[in-house]
Symmetry: C2
Subunit: 429 residues, 2 copies
């Protein structure tokens, strides 16, 4: 018993969930730098969206506690060691990934205010302001809500009951690790920050992967954990870039070109394994058919919605049609993965492309079946850019259940991007 | 990180398995006091017997490490707090269970020398000397061998692999606890000291039972854990008493009377729930048929071999035949129990007798199936009195697979105690 540690712990007003500005996805920082350079003055609104309506977050989570956690996040700034890490570490084989002007801005950065209201058993949580500032709310806001929901469920459990709960969760994860060990060609990264059970649990999962999977574990999307555990920080770009660029388009022609403009900006900044296309924002098939030839030279494609095997086949066919060798290309699967899907996809695509997996919620939050009423099961909570400079954003994706935006705008986007009928898939996490 | 604690830990020459003279079964202390009074000068030999021959302990366990652990146990003496506990605590509702003369002797006590040799992949470990001294070797010797075997299996495992192993073991135990919770009439004590996985694990199991089972958990046989966790110390008497008393008998008539003489001595010292007959040493049926009437007045019977349901039926019939009301009597089941057996026996006998369970090895050492090759599965290791004043001891029990002693003596005992054919049952633990 370390008495001083215990006394110190008792002095905390709260037990902060997010304790560092880099306890976030690495791609947020890459995108933030890109936005900081290309779109620093664009005004955006991000909003929390709970796609699992029957989980009534406002009934589960105390508003005061939520405000305390969000206020604590607003008090965070980059520490000296974190700054040194971002400035000095090699990311994706590159030194000085983060430019001095960006680092200087980030060192002075604090998260902007939030707006919180309760409505119909849910929280309306929104963030408004300059895009490079507001975008950094997404991951910590989600992590706080997920963890507060977990704490609400756990608060009446006894000491041994809790220990056994975590013992069961560890056992469950390790059984997954043992199954994944069977295929040493697997390449898997942790993509589970936003909907993790808790920070400590994500950190445990990363360490278990590190010991259990060896070289099959390629890194974590969590920048803080990557720093502390000395593993690769993983991630490229996300839907918010084409969504905001598209919202800003003045004409249909501009709109059609917007997703490519995103990648043209990215092309200037990044090469190698950071040149990964996320093609599904407005339908993968149309995006690839109409893509300029320079995009076919990019390293990889990330499959984040729709049937993953079909998405990979579309990518392979596209590369072939553009005279590229798919065997040299990277396919990153990142949508709702668990062990069966990864093993199956690996079997199907190994040797045909370079396969990689971004394993998210079912890595860092698979507490399904571990408490009565399944009250710790992960659910589909997102935090998205809903408008840019006053115009609504739209996302279609390859799964109509993941579409978002006002109906007339969705219709317009479907017309402009020539999206036909789509197959709906359940969105679990 | 408590630096001082870590540095202190590093100074240990070994990591001692048994750290207290009362890290032993409570009934050993009760029996020791009885022997100290009634048979202080009887010379006995105790010997380790591994009934699971394919577990080659001498190949698994380093002799030097074993000697260090045994030497460490010889260095132990009763601490002031332990002495205060034994003198001041209420056991089975009685103050001063341990008499001042016994306590004075015990406070000066050190365990006598041991004799250790390797033969055919097994350890020959024997203890010779005065009965009250030698008998206290049994439990720590078994615990040391069980835990060293576990350490040998675990020594090449990684940090997370170990954490997951214990997570699995915790999960396994908790699932048992959850099943046992279903019947609030259950009364279960921990009887798992001798063949536990480790001291810390037994301590965890007791705490888990305490939280998980509430009043269905009635205590532990482990005196040290009973003291630390402030639960009842549980236990009455064991086969070594009739085995040694019988070995000392000069004639067949003396031999036939010996098991009753044990209980006559016990009768003088104890009452209430400590008056529990262990009838199976030379066959339950014959023992009860020939028992004096005052024994029918005793509180209970412990069923420790043979088919437990048959044993309980025999006990009930016997009480009825002696004009006793079985509903007021206690039946303690203690042979190789696990959840299914306990739930089944409870269902079968609740309401007909007062039912209680001594849950041993499958409580504190159920690591079956948790490591490759099942290398942590518990096995049947015992440490028994094999001779008294130069004469061999004999045990028959209600299961011929548990019988021990030289063949001619076994034959003589079977004749004297009129033991007919017996049903053999596998001895797992």
């Amino acid at each position: 018993m370390d008495i001083a540690q215990r006394v110190y712990n008792h002095k905390w007003k709260i037990d902060p969930i997010v304790r560092s500005l880099i306890d976030t996805d690495f791609y947020k920082l890459l995108m933030c730098q890109s936005v900081f350079r290309n779109q620093p003055d664009t005004q955006v609104t991000f909003s929390l969206i709970n796609r699992t309506a029957d989980i009534r977050l406002a009934d589960l989570i105390d508003e005061g506690e939520l405000r305390e956690q969000l206020d604590h996040i607003r008090s965070l700034s980059l520490s000296r060691g974190e700054s040194t890490f971002l400035r000095g570490n090699t990311f994706y084989g590159k030194r000085q990934m983060f430019r001095p002007d960006f680092m200087e801005w980030f060192e002075g950065f604090r998260l902007p205010p939030y707006h919180l209201e309760k409505r119909d058993g849910q929280y309306e949580l929104t963030f408004e302001g300059a895009w490079p500032e507001v975008m950094l709310w997404e991951i910590p806001a989600l992590a706080v809500l997920m963890e507060l929901r977990g704490r609400a469920v756990l608060k009446d459990m006894g000491r041994f009951e809790l220990q056994v709960l975590y013992a069961r969760a560890m056992t469950k994860l390790w059984e997954k690790v043992e199954r994944l060990r069977g295929d040493s060609a697997l390449r898997i990264a942790d993509f589970g920050t936003r909907r993790r059970h808790s920070f400590l649990w994500q950190d445990w999962c990363v360490q278990a992967m590190l010991e259990g999977l060896g070289s099959s574990f390629v890194g974590t999307s969590n920048c803080l954990i990557a720093m502390r555990r000395e593993v690769e920080a993983i991630g490229t770009n996300a839907h918010e870039l084409p969504m905001v660029y598209s919202a800003l388009a003045e004409t249909d022609a501009d709109l059609r070109a917007a997703p490519y403009r995103v990648l043209a900006d990215w092309h200037e900044e990044h090469d190698g394994n950071l040149r990964v296309i996320l093609p599904d924002t407005y339908g993968t098939r149309g995006f690839l058919e109409n893509a300029p030839d320079w995009l076919a030279g990019w390293t990889g494609i990330r499959i984040d919605s729709g049937d993953p095997a079909s998405g990979a086949e579309i990518a392979i066919d596209w590369w072939k049609s553009r005279g590229e060798n798919p065997r040299e290309k990277l396919v990153i699967f990142s949508d709702g993965l668990d062990v069966d899907a990864m093993l199956q996809l690996q079997k199907q695509f190994a040797g045909r492309v370079r396969v990689s997996f971004g394993w998210g919620t079912l890595l860092t939050n698979d507490f399904r079946g571990l408490v009565p009423g399944n009250a710790l099961a992960p659910f589909s909570l997102v935090c998205k850019a809903i408008s840019a400079n006053g115009r609504p954003t739209v996302k279609l994706s390859d799964n109509p259940n993941k579409a978002m935006g006002p109906a007339p705008e969705v219709a317009r986007y479907k017309r402009v991007f020539e999206v036909g009928s789509q197959v709906a898939r359940a969105v679990e996490v």
